[in-house]
Subunit: 476 residues, 2 copies
């Protein structure tokens, strides 16, 4: 059944690692997939829900890195939302992603109106958002590349601005873009606001055919690479993998530089709903509810004489703050951040320094998500390591062996089907199984509830790289 | 062999829980036994070493709570220092402890010169300390109850002060005490210092017979209770347990109020060595070495634009601070403290609040020391709990059973002797043993190196109170 003529095709871009929200956001679980703002859903999931209204939006398309594919699939699955998932073999900035999005939509309907969304924005008022998209789509259908321009609420120096030009007659409320302005200083921001400029939200709406024409005109290399990568794409499980060699040829350039600042057809719809890109912990604090002292807390937190602070305690521990104001404290089982709220943007430099000195916590979370579930180290010693492992129903780890460690598995929840060399055994709650060094083994959850087990590794070396994978259903 | 006539009998008082140094110091491991200042020794151990010089000091006596007895014994053992360990069934403040100390020393030599020391002070210069004790002992032998008075280095409002009176002719450098002054405000402290007053260090030296006479005169109830408690004391393993019923009759009063402020024989020896009672995190920061930015760090710490702060990261995690000054950050595996350094005294209120709301982290450490070694919870879930257990060579847990949980033990280091009902088995590294619900079991380290094992408990209830102890070599 064809989509109605006024359907909008949402494309959610999931790139970025959210370094400035370390230690909650790390490369192994970037902020758009973490539950930083709403404890029940990630901003990626909130983005999916924002474009779920039938009759307004077509099936969403998600463009993500290959590494994030299982998180994307799991989080779509949790909401029961079907999405096309396109995988970038490597990040080539937003122009290449938009080119892929436009080609993907044009293949369904050349005149499809595409909505480009970031996965990490917070927009609490879905109704206002959908109304704005509908209004902007009128401009897009009339041939404009539309942006949503947020009415500023403070002289922010961490957002780009848009100066409005003449009204667009075909689209009530919309105006032509006179100029995109880079992030200003505070005085510049005040002048821009006095002048009626808007924040650049990064939401774009355009007709697929017209965007393809603009890309062809301004950055033909990007479009060629995107087209070749999509033509040679491979479908793998539920994912469409863009061709790596082809996509690598796309120049790295943002859609702003590539098209928006050069097109004669840029339009903007002013909107005034609350919006944040939650780029820093300060921004997270701003979008959260506060108590009477201005504090936003999560988890087991105790405060004494503390004001205007964000305190998140993750993983069950207790976090206490005494006699401070305007601080951010984020404690996780393996890393703690304490920062001046005003300087929370400098967390980026911190993470760069941690990477430079090779600290694993810079990029890896203690809980590592895998297509079959997750594992988390809970203890480590000189010749042993202990992990908690959860396997989703139907999940199946690779067939593997280790050269340097034996493993003891104690099932604490659910039922495991364990292959050890040529034996297959069912291991139930409160039962254990032993895997000698060098044995070929595999773990599988044949049941209906998650399987949880404690793994005790004993041996001279317990690193992740002592895994010899013989077979894997997830193509790793 | 009798001690030489000029020997000093050191008595170390180990009371106190160091609440203001939470979360490193908790009731289950108070600050005097923790390695807060020197990563190699506790302040209790440093106190033992301070009075170790043969020919100057007799065998030390430690007065501790019954709960702390195994920590005291273990820390003495680590240094190879023998001590008499007297256990208070409950804390009755310092007058009762001093009475016990005086009685204990008088039983060896009625004219013994006793040195009363707190276990939680930091005195880096042992030579200067020993010289001061020798000089003060001259006054004590002449019949004065001597204190060491520290020359103030700042107008501290968290110490008591001593005003000096006329010189004591028999003790060069010493003076009579004109007046003990309670903790003053800052202006009062400045006036006192201008007037030549000294900090009251809490170190006392006196002749046992004379102190007993003073106690008899001023607080006979305290002395009676102490004498009865010592007369009825029971020797238990290496400890002397004061009789609980008798000791409970001692009124709770400090030695300062009971004797020092009332005696006509109080003397003070001015000393100028560095000294701190490390009562708050601010005080800990002051005695530690600082880097060029004034920071004192321990463990895995990363700082960006941070000054004059104390950052301790315990248990292997990473702790990062960005853009702050004059803060204290102490992170432990189960609790994190972030405080304004200037307000670190308010940690006491925090801990009181945590106690009031029943948070286990208020008093219990994650790692719990026992006479046989220690255990630490490393994970907990709905129907399971995982612990790491270390048993010292020769250590032997109680014979016990559980009504609500089975246990799996995986040995990761050393060798375990495990009794399960009527079987006794040796379990070696990388071997496991299963203890069904209700089985009678016991764990024992028969080897020469510490035994470490991972315990996975599975059952409907995994609390510490589901332990039915049938037999215990430690008299618990």
């Amino acid at each position: 059944m064809p989509e109605p003529i006024d359907t909008v095709y949402p494309i959610i871009l999931c790139g970025g690692t959210g370094t400035r929200l370390w230690p909650a956001s790390r490369e192994s679980m970037p902020k758009q997939f973490a539950r930083l703002v709403d404890p029940r859903t990630s901003t990626f999931q909130a983005s999916l829900e924002r474009v779920a209204e039938a009759g307004v939006f077509a099936k969403p398309t998600v463009i993500a890195s290959a590494e994030a594919r299982f998180i994307v699939a799991e989080q779509c699955g949790q909401l029961g939302i079907a999405a096309d998932i396109l995988l970038e073999p490597q990040g080539r900035d937003s122009a290449a992603a938009v080119a892929v999005a436009a080609l993907h939509a044009a293949a369904i309907d050349p005149q499809a109106v595409v909505l480009i969304m970031a996965a990490d924005h917070v927009v609490p008022d879905t109704r206002a958002f959908v109304d704005a998209v509908k209004a902007a789509a009128v401009g897009a259908r009339a041939g404009y590349t539309m942006t949503l321009g947020i009415e500023p609420t403070r002289p922010a120096s961490d957002y780009g601005y848009i100066r409005r030009g003449a009204p667009i007659p075909e689209a009530p409320g919309a105006a032509r873009v006179e100029k995109f302005v880079e992030k200003p200083d505070r005085a510049g921001a005040e002048a821009l606001i006095a002048d009626g400029a808007l924040w650049n939200s990064g939401y774009f709406l355009f007709r697929a055919d017209l965007m393809l024409a603009e890309l062809e005109a301004f950055v033909p290399d990007v479009l060629d690479a995107a087209r070749s990568a999509l033509d040679a794409a491979v479908t793998d499980l539920d994912f469409v993998r863009l061709d790596g060699a082809a996509f690598a040829k796309a120049p790295k350039i943002s859609i702003d530089y590539a098209v928006m600042e050069r097109t004669a057809r840029a339009g903007v719809l002013p909107v005034s709903f609350p919006w944040s890109d939650v780029g820093t912990w300060d921004a997270v604090w701003q979008v959260l509810d506060h108590d009477a002292e201005g504090n936003a807390v999560r988890g087991r937190v105790s405060l004494v004489e503390t004001k205007n602070s964000l305190v998140h305690s993750q993983g069950g521990g207790l976090t206490a703050v005494v006699g401070l104001e305007d601080v951010v404290v984020v404690s996780t089982p393996d890393a703690v951040l304490v920062a001046s709220k005003a300087r929370s943007g400098e967390v980026k430099q911190l993470v760069n320094a941690l990477r430079a000195s090779g600290e694993p916590e810079a990029d890896a979370h203690l809980r590592m998500y895998r297509p079959w579930g997750w594992y988390q180290r809970i203890d480590i010693g000189e010749r042993f390591q202990v992990k908690r492992i959860q396997v989703v129903p139907g999940g199946r780890l690779s067939l593997q062996k280790h050269y340097h460690r034996a493993e003891h598995w104690v099932v604490v929840r659910g039922t495991a089907e364990v292959t050890v060399d040529d034996r297959v055994v069912l291991v139930h709650e409160n039962e254990a199984v032993y895997l000698p060094i060098g044995s070929m083994h595999r773990l599988n959850n044949p049941g209906k509830i998650p399987l949880e087990l404690i793994e005790v590794q004993v041996g001279s070396y317990t690193g992740e790289d002592d895994i010899i994978r013989v077979e894997d259903i997830y193509g790793r």
